[in-house]
């Protein structure tokens, strides 16, 4: 009997060792409706700046990620209650969100671009002046800026909020709003796709994006994410990722580049992947 228990114990120890040897997989929630930070490529892959930064951090820190498409409305709830482990969804670090989740070090500083119809003669000042209707995606920095910096300060503009950014742009095209305030990279992509649109200016909001984990960081993920982020920024990969996603390349081109670079990802070659991605996205 004692012998049997001993064998059982040994098996248990071996089993545990085997489990811990395999890399842990963490669930990463992302609202994949927001290029170029996160979106679903034509082939179904979930790609984007946030997601690749998270993938490369995971490689550097020796864990695996499983990216799950999430509705923005419940990302904070489900990361907060631990149903998913990490949020990577272009989330601005704010005090109220800190109450529900814990943020990593910032990885991106967001500026807001103001889009108007090219034939409208509006400049950045007149586009945001009294009497104007301004569209923005609900819960984004753009909407928050219009509320806090204009409406709360007594500027008589009307903020029209949309569940999705492209619907705000569509309403601008349809003449229902006078301007749309949105993160610069997405705005540049929209303007590049439609000659009737133009960016009249960029507001330096200086708000910072962070990854976030369950309150109290029960899995001890934040040190790894921060460490990995630091390593990534110190490598050539960081500039390559920015070139690839923020360089104004058309989304389909980035998607093709991503597919071509994917083998580097599988081989856990961080700089190789980022280099291939940037090269593909900027190729003539």
């Amino acid at each position: 009997m004692k012998k049997f228990l001993l064998v059982l114990g040994l098996l248990a120890v071996v089993g545990l060792a085997a489990v811990s040897a395999a890399a842990t997989t963490y669930k990463v929630a992302s609202d994949t409706t927001w290029p170029p930070f996160e979106w679903q490529a034509g082939g179904g892959q979930l790609i984007g700046f946030d997601l690749d930064v998270m993938r490369l951090i995971a490689i550097l820190e020796g864990y695996d990620v499983n990216i799950i498409s999430y509705s923005w409305d419940i990302i904070f709830i489900d990361v907060g209650n631990g149903r998913v482990d990490i949020g990577a969804s272009g989330a601005t670090i704010t005090a109220e969100r800190e109450a529900v989740v814990d943020f990593s070090a910032p990885y991106w500083t967001s500026n807001q671009a103001v889009i108007v119809m090219a034939d409208s003669d509006l400049n950045i000042a007149s586009a945001l002046s009294a009497g104007k209707k301004i569209g923005a995606q609900v819960g984004t920095t753009g909407a928050k800026w219009v509320q806090e910096q204009l409406i709360d300060k007594g500027v008589d503009v009307e903020l029209v909020e949309y569940t999705l950014y492209p619907l705000a742009v569509l309403d601008l095209v349809n003449g229902n709003v006078d301007a749309v305030v949105q993160d610069e990279p997405a705005s540049r992509a929209s303007v590049a796709a439609d000659a009737r649109l133009s960016i009249v200016g960029v507001i330096e909001t200086g708000e910072q994006f962070g990854f976030f984990v369950t309150n109290g960081d029960p899995n001890g993920l934040l040190p790894k994410i921060n460490d990995g982020l630091q390593k990534l920024k110190a490598s050539t990969a960081w500039a390559d990722l920015i070139t690839a996603y923020m360089g104004g390349a058309e989304l389909t081109k980035i998607e093709a580049a991503w597919v071509a670079a994917a083998p580097f990802l599988a081989a856990k070659d961080v700089t190789g992947f980022a280099h291939a991605l940037a090269a593909g996205a900027t190729a003539p």
Partner: protein, 236 residues
């Protein structure tokens, strides 16, 4: 690439997402049908406390919007059970339990629409109550229930669009929403394809609604008996 090609490229993923919508739809109908039938019989033939319980259930689930029921279930069930429940099951359970409240009303109404003399005649032949319900009441109530049930089917098809708030569940609506931004950033087309794309999404739901209704009216015709015609048709 032409606009049509781009549109088609973005429609293909909708076909990939269709099974998710269909699975939730199928599961929720099974949940709603089973629970709805039980509730209907409990209300038509049960004792007063049981009936009151059923009425309470109906009022609860009919009074809460589908989106809120889904969010309540998604955030309530897994923590309550202590085990992770797949999103598809949560969605089907939430919408199914909601639909049960409506379906039980349909079935109860159909049971009560069978004239009381039918039960009396069955009992006068020596049938037990259960036999009478099974051989006389149910076959008649079932036929009466098909048209209003088709209505409920159309309504739950559209309810499935709300499951897009559940993490990881990519149904028709969620898939379409995910495609809007990339679609609107195609050069030089911009936002022009958003409207046609949303129309195509609508067509998917129309196909589900009318396809299902078509099957149901086929069933109704196969089971049709003189005297059980749908309202609005001329009686012989």
């Amino acid at each position: 690439m032409t606009a049509t090609e781009i549109l088609w490229q973005n429609v293909r993923p909708l076909f990939d997402a269709l099974p998710v919508t269909l699975e939730v739809l199928g599961l929720l109908l099974v949940v709603g049908l089973t629970l709805g039938t039980v509730l209907a019989f409990a209300q038509a033939y049960g004792r007063r406390p049981l009936r009151a319980l059923c009425v309470g259930y109906e009022q609860l689930f009919r009074g809460i919007p589908p989106l809120v029921v889904i969010l309540l279930f998604w955030n309530g069930i897994t923590p309550a059970l202590g085990v992770p429940v797949p999103g598809i099951v949560v969605a089907a359970l939430a919408l199914g339990m909601r639909s049960a409240a409506y379906q039980s009303q349909i079935f109860r109404g159909a049971i009560q629409a069978v004239p009381p003399g039918q039960m009396m005649a069955a009992r006068s032949l020596g049938m037990s109550r259960i036999q009478a319900i099974r051989s006389v009441i149910v076959p008649q109530a079932f036929r009466l229930a098909i048209p209003p049930w088709a209505n409920e089917y159309s309504s739950v098809v559209k309810d499935t669009a709300f499951i897009c708030v559940i993490g990881g569940l990519i149904d028709l609506t969620r898939q379409a929403l995910m495609k809007l931004a990339p679609l609107s950033m195609r050069r030089p087309i911009g936002t022009q394809l958003i409207l046609p794309y949303l129309i195509i999404l609508g067509l998917f739901y129309l196909a589900l609604t009318y396809g299902g209704n078509g099957l149901l009216s086929l069933l109704e015709r196969r089971l049709s008996i003189p005297g059980f015609e749908m309202k609005g048709k001329v009686e012989r």
